[in-house]
Symmetry: C2
Amino acid sequence: MEHNLQHTVSLLARTPAALNALLRDLPETWTSRNEGEKTWSAFDVVGHLIYAERANWMPRAKMVLEFGETRAFESFDRWGHVRESQGKSLAQLLDEFARVRAENLTELRGLNLRPEDLARRGRHPAVGVVTLSELLATWAAHDLTHLHQISRIMAYQYREAVGPWSKFLGVLQCAGHSSP
Amino acid sequence: MEHNLQHTVSLLARTPAALNALLRDLPETWTSRNEGEKTWSAFDVVGHLIYAERANWMPRAKMVLEFGETRAFESFDRWGHVRESQGKSLAQLLDEFARVRAENLTELRGLNLRPEDLARRGRHPAVGVVTLSELLATWAAHDLTHLHQISRIMAYQYREAVGPWSKFLGVLQCAGHSSP
């Protein structure tokens, strides 16, 4: 399946509502617990998604269009959300994620990207040359990697409660490769 | 985290809306493709969740209360959803899942289970003695294992589109342990 910008936008537009439906007003034992030291809770993941909206996807897309390969993207701080999430409720974070995602998609649509724009190349500080198409596909896949992670974090809270069924529950065998 | 019936019900009540927000009206390339031969698409997973509402959770809970350990549960057919999903749209399946889940939660609440009921024991045909508490915790964790799986199935469709970012996306490293 090749990258299709409309399919990417369709998915990106749905993630905030999906997380809202799953997480809002859930008991905190589901949303504030993590998988152990230096791991994230569902609350942390939503904070990270907001931070990436501000610091990662659209800023990098605009850098590709403006500077091409001549300037590497800023490094992304995987713990950058911690300070910004402090003192906020999960409900506030869910509202904020919906708002910044909607703003970014409005801006993305406003770029009216053509196929030749999607083929333009930028420079990632670690992986080297990437295309705008790859960056936008990664934005969508990044949503999915964190939905995958949230499912695993939450299931982890019931790892003992499920008793002998644990061996049948694939999510409990997941080695944590989407964390953080 | 011990099993808490209210927490379990809170999660079970949200899954249909979360899947609806994520999947309804998405382009079919996201929802009808799988991870290869004998694997499931997101459409198949929703069908499986419906089938489990009918054939697994509440029927087994009632068997524990009625027969205890004296009668083993019916085996669950992991491919039982295929015939029942045929000819239906994903929108129909999402509606059906919301309806059967709501009916089952109404029935579950109506049982007014007390702690001593949750400790009652039944017999699983493969794993042996299980408690009602473990069965109900597994119902919730089963939702999470399939949300984990759906995220992975969908990300798989972009495994090439993301280019060199694939190594950073944990969901693309997931070995398929939640399938089916």
